[in-house]
Symmetry: C2
Subunit: 137 residues, 2 copies
């Protein structure tokens, strides 16, 4: 028999971590089905996401764990975690606190749409000024 | 004034291609809102996707353009292309031919859900035997 502590990590071992030890993570909003954002997780981030029930990512730019909403208050409550056929992408079903996932103050990060003249157009409104979201005052 | 041919590529220049010249591409089904898969595109794949109206990805394993559905017939008709705030993820709204996006014969590639005992469980049915999908007979 295998060690219980080892068995408990089987679900993490099933993930195909990339050369940097990361897996892509898509956050989709429960209810609306809206795709809010895509970020990255390392093993610890995915473990913490399951344990805490809140999305924890790995910030590649800051090279540290990123508890989504730690500055903005816009946490993501995780209701379901899926893994794709290749094991290298995770899909989270989340409830988005504050209704804002994007650092620009929009609901979703995918707010630019390609129009018929091949230009990216912002098609979703800023719901809250980013300065107000991230102010310490 | 800039050259028209150059200007026509502005939308591709707006994408933050990674060190391998790739961008992540999420396919979401029109109507159901289901996230079907995530794959990768290089510049040519994204250009061809727009021009043809069908999803074209870059296969990292085969190192070549992958016209989705070229073997299976399960093409993706692209109705909308979005870009995220950082410019490094594309979101496609697609109509999935045959209702099967996954090479396992399932509707979506995200068919494994993490259950309460921390095990991945297949929660979506195989709609068509992969041997039948990819047979040449």
């Amino acid at each position: 028999m295998s060690d219980p502590a080892t068995r408990a990590d089987d679900w993490l071992d099933a993930v195909s971590w990339d050369d940097n030890g990361l897996v892509a993570a898509i956050a989709q909003e429960r209810g609306t089905g809206k795709v809010l954002m895509m970020a990255w997780m390392n093993r610890e981030a995915l473990r913490l996401t399951r344990e805490s029930g809140h999305a924890v990512y790995w910030s590649r730019s800051r090279q540290r764990l990123w508890h989504k909403g730690e500055s903005s208050g816009h946490q993501q409550v995780v209701r379901d975690i899926r893994l794709d056929c290749d094991g290298d992408v995770v899909l989270l079903e989340v409830e988005q606190r504050g209704g804002i996932a994007c650092h620009t103050g929009r609901h979703s990060c995918f707010y630019r749409a390609l129009d018929e003249s091949a230009a990216w157009r912002a098609v979703e409104p800023v719901l809250k000024d980013p300065d107000a979201i991230y102010s310490k005052g």
